[in-house]
């Protein structure tokens, strides 16, 4: 099977598809996640030297609409996110994570890019309808697409072989997730299932993406700032 046959984009990989400046109107199933959310009853199950550690955590999750992005014929509408997690009663950051939630309408797929400051990144992907209220994304180590990469120590001592996140959108302006990372721990007998789950409640509405602001009733000439334009005598 040729690469062009693995998706619906054909052989013209250069012609850019035109997008809608209004990202919020095109986010498909991740639209309800746009904005700022907090969850006060998160639960984590992680490996410790004597077995399984369990933590209750507080999560602050910000998801900001970005302008549409294209790779030739492929188009994404997305949310740039940052989630910060602290253990209940403790001031220090327990977990910090950044990345993008992306909706690809032409492929009916949701993609999550995830980066954490422990030296690890992944891309997880799954299928969903535009009006879906549940979807699941997965990533697997050792593949060129939708994979997992870690720094050398993490890869040796706590190798993440797979990742899965299941998202459920509720009708009371909340959403929840259950995620699982399967770890192969050095010296361990069996894979460890690192799990987290939380329900997040809306704190504030999303800010529209920059291009939609620019496009509001706008037929301007787009002059903007000329600071970076070469003038007569730059």
């Amino acid at each position: 099977m040729s690469p062009a046959e693995t998706d619906s984009y054909g052989t013209d990989i250069y012609t850019e598809v035109d997008g809608d400046p209004d990202t919020l109107a095109n986010l498909g199933p991740i639209r309800p996640m746009a904005g700022v959310f907090e969850g006060l009853k998160g639960a984590d199950q992680h490996p410790i030297d004597v077995g399984v550690g369990r933590s209750a955590f507080i999560e602050h999750y910000e998801l900001t609409p970005i302008d549409f992005q294209t790779n030739g014929p492929q188009i994404f509408y997305g949310l740039r996110y940052h989630t910060n997690i602290r253990e209940v009663g403790l001031p220090a950051m327990f977990h910090d994570q950044v990345g993008y939630w992306l909706w690809e309408p032409l492929a009916n797929s949701v993609t999550l890019t995830l980066g954490i400051p422990r030296g690890q990144a992944l891309i997880a992907m799954g299928q969903a309808e535009a009006n879906a209220t549940e979807f699941e994304l997965t990533a697997t180590a050792g593949t060129d697409v939708n994979g997992i990469v870690s720094n050398p120590f993490l890869d040796r001592a706590f190798h993440t072989s797979s990742y899965r996140i299941h998202v459920t959108i509720h009708d009371d302006d909340t959403w929840s997730y259950e995620e699982e990372g399967v770890l192969e721990i050095e010296g361990g007998d069996a894979p460890f299932h690192h799990t987290d789950h939380n329900t997040l409640s809306r704190v504030s509405l999303p800010q529209p993406n920059p291009l939609s602001q620019y496009d509001v009733g706008d037929s301007s000439l787009g002059i903007g700032s000329l600071r970076n334009e070469s003038g007569y005598l730059p």
Partner: protein, 268 residues
């Protein structure tokens, strides 16, 4: 459709493209302040004011024992420049003509650009726009027609800014006469004044036809901010048998945070 009513104009897409391109090109040619000040926007036609973060205490309140104050804002100013094009000329665009007589577009764009720059550099009192040059508390540096000495004057202005704890790099907005003088003159020994000026300033040398004399201002950022509501746009007004009437408009406000960040150079 928005308030510009472009869809109502008896103008083809091809003609609109030529009008917009010409207006954009002319505006970029004449605009200078946008090269030298902080910029925010465009925030849209419906954006009406800039928060100043300050209040004005009011003398009374509806209930005794209650203090009242009013938030202070700087309203955006609207500039609009009308122009017209002949229907005959616009019809030529539909036939494939690419050499439309767009001189009215150029003239209107020039006026619009000079209006914005004039307000920013020299102020527009009725629009509550303080001018960079007029707001400067520093004594102006006097220049003359001997442009071989212009670097000395620029160095003096930069020294004033440094003494006032205003860091560089610095830029200069040169009015039309100064621009000509600076670019066509060499110092004794043949060194171009322009090059010497660049070395003194460390920042851009800009043609600014709306400026009287010249203005040297810091480019460290944070001192001057142009807030644009609707960026320059071409709108449709009305048409008759011979002419189609358009306009170029924008809305903006200008804020000076550090009046000390500029020195004016004035002719004797």
């Amino acid at each position: 459709m928005n308030h510009l009513n472009r869809e109502l104009a008896p103008v083809t897409e091809s003609a609109w493209a030529q009008i917009d391109d010409e207006a954009s090109r002319s505006l970029k040619q004449y605009l200078a302040a946008r090269r030298l000040t902080d910029f925010e926007g465009p925030l849209g036609w419906d954006h009406s004011s800039v928060d100043l973060g300050r209040i004005e205490n009011l003398a009374d309140a509806p209930v005794e024992g209650v203090a009242s104050a009013r938030r202070l804002v700087r309203p955006l100013v609207e500039f609009r420049v009308p122009f017209s094009l002949s229907r005959q000329e616009l019809a030529a665009a539909e036939r494939g003509a690419t050499d439309l007589d767009l001189s009215p577009v150029i003239a209107a764009s020039r006026s619009a650009a000079l209006a914005e720059d004039g307000a920013i550099f020299h102020g527009f009192e009725n629009g509550d726009i303080p001018g960079i040059a007029e707001s400067s508390p520093h004594e102006s540096v006097t220049i003359d027609d001997d442009y071989s000495r212009f670097p000395e004057h620029a160095a003096k202005a930069v020294a004033i800014l440094r003494a006032a704890d205003i860091a560089g790099p610095y830029a200069i907005a040169l009015g039309a006469k100064c621009f000509t003088g600076v670019t066509e003159t060499t110092e004794r020994g043949g060194y171009p004044v322009l090059e010497h000026l660049r070395e003194i300033l460390g920042g851009p040398v800009t043609w600014a036809p709306a400026v009287e004399g010249a203005v040297i201002l810091s480019q460290r950022g944070g001192d001057y901010k142009l807030t644009v509501g609707e960026d320059f746009s071409v709108g449709y007004h009305f048409s008759d048998a011979d002419q189609v009437r358009f306009y170029i408009e924008e809305s903006f406000a200008f804020q000076i945070n550090t009046p000390e960040a500029a020195v004016r150079l004035v002719t004797r």
